[in-house]
């Protein structure tokens, strides 16, 4: 029980390996373009073992960063060939730190703005009196709520009924939807027409899969003319 507060505290202090690294660089007041890699690596590892000693679950990200640091450290030990225009291996770590610092400062700037609901407020107008019963209604719902609703359903059904929804099968659904639009305009369409508009191979495959699916569930019938050999699809 006693470790819990520490755990939260440390998680909050160092949100990740980048945060820890930035802290060490600031503490040592070193130039980001000239990081004393041996010193920083040692201190970084020291922190990790301290965190381990405190029974803090170390996220894999922390270990990964340790590995990166160690790798840079070993690269620095290799003799530098003057002829090769190789980048300072420390740039591998300096660049992400710079980006991270910039994001941190951007976040800080956002946090000091006049936040709505904290330092500034808007009116909650009482508009009941103005709303007359108009015919058209506006539906307010977010995408996240839709996904959430479906997730709830998935949780309630048994394992063997679980369905895997992949982006690919959604593309076929899209295609079916589009083919229906065409069929709603004209009752039948020839096989050639069906594929005429498609250029990309993937589009052709999707159209074909959509067509098979529609035949399977009995939405269309495929008929071949005995003389001309033209294949036509009929919307049922």
């Amino acid at each position: 029980m006693f470790e819990e507060p520490y755990k939260v505290l440390l998680d909050e202090v160092f949100e990740g390996p980048m945060d820890l690294l930035v802290h060490l660089i600031k503490k040592n007041e070193v130039d980001i373009y000239d990081i004393p890699i041996a010193l920083i690596t040692d201190q970084y590892l020291g922190c990790l073992s301290l965190m381990k000693a405190l029974n803090i679950d170390l996220a894999g990200d922390f270990i990964l960063m340790a590995a990166t640091l160690a790798q840079i450290k070993s690269k620095m030990l290799l003799p530098v060939h003057e002829s090769e225009e190789e980048e300072d291996p420390r740039m591998e770590i300096a660049r992400p730190i710079l980006e991270y610092l910039e994001i941190k400062s951007a976040a800080e700037q956002l946090s000091v703005r006049n936040l709505l609901g904290d330092s500034t407020f808007i009116r909650q107008p009482d508009i009941k009196d103005f709303l007359s019963n108009q015919d058209e209604e506006v539906i307010t719902v977010g995408l996240f709520e839709l996904i959430d609703a479906f997730q709830k359903i998935l949780k309630n059904i048994s394992e063997d009924q679980k369905i895997n929804i992949t982006a690919d099968s959604m593309s076929v659904k899209d295609k079916i939807s589009r083919l229906i639009d065409i069929f709603k305009e004209k009752e039948s369409i020839s096989f050639e027409e069906l594929f005429a508009a498609n250029v990309a191979r993937i589009e052709i495959v999707l159209t074909f899969l959509a067509m098979l699916e529609m035949v399977k569930i009995g939405l269309v019938r495929i008929v071949q003319h005995t003389q001309s050999g033209v294949i036509r699809l009929f919307y049922l």
Partner: protein, 206 residues
């Protein structure tokens, strides 16, 4: 007396969802001086009358409320959207099933939800969020449903494949761990900030 009392009361009147009572103003200001508050309310009311703008201060239901002048209600009615309609959870679930399992028949939907969905499907059809694309050639020839263009518009999607799968959202993990850390940071915020300042390897909590 608190400096800026007039502006404070005005801002309270502005944000209050219900008529603001003298008592609640007193509570906010930690004051017992009803006279001063009444005086300010009078002043504000006179000021609004004098400038003859779009709003006025009205004593109503035991409190005070800023209201728009009735002369302008015809314009306001033109602005306000018709009654926003919220989809019920049942409707949202049904719509979600149609969206993710389309083309789908009613019995499949009801199998997943475990309840009758006829009324909801009709409502979704009326609102043009789903449509009938045909009948399945099985006994009973059940109606097949898919979502519509209006469905995509409502959720600001280009096409169906842009619809994130529940699995993808699931993989994002649990937002509650975030709010937990958030709550924790509020509780221990003070100490965390202190520690941040002193933090180096020497003063690390042992």
């Amino acid at each position: 007396m608190i400096k800026d009392i007039k502006n404070i009361i005005e801002s309270l009147l502005f944000v209050a969802e219900e008529p603001l009572t003298i008592d609640s103003i007193k509570k906010v200001l930690d004051s017992t001086d009803s006279n001063a508050i009444n005086h300010v309310l009078n002043e504000l009311s006179n000021e609004y009358e004098a400038r003859k703008g779009g709003f006025f201060l009205r004593e109503v239901a035991g409190g005070y409320q800023i209201r728009t002048r009735s002369e302008y209600s015809q314009w306001i009615k033109r602005l306000l959207k018709p009654n926003p309609f919220r989809l019920s959870n049942a409707a949202l679930e049904t719509l979600a099933i149609v969206a993710y399992k389309q083309p789908v028949i009613r019995s499949d939907i009801e199998h997943l939800r475990g309840v009758d969905c006829g009324g909801i499907l009709r409502m979704l059809l009326e609102r043009k969020l789903i449509r009938v694309i045909g009948r399945r050639e099985i006994p009973g020839r059940p109606i097949i449903y898919t979502t519509t263009k209006k469905f995509l518009e409502l959720f600001e999607l280009k096409d169906l494949k842009d619809l994130p799968s529940p699995k993808e959202i699931e993989e994002l993990g649990d937002s509650s761990s975030e709010s937990l850390a958030n709550a924790a940071s509020e509780i221990i915020g003070q100490t965390a900030d202190e520690d941040k300042k002193n933090l180096d390897l020497g003063t690390w909590p042992k």
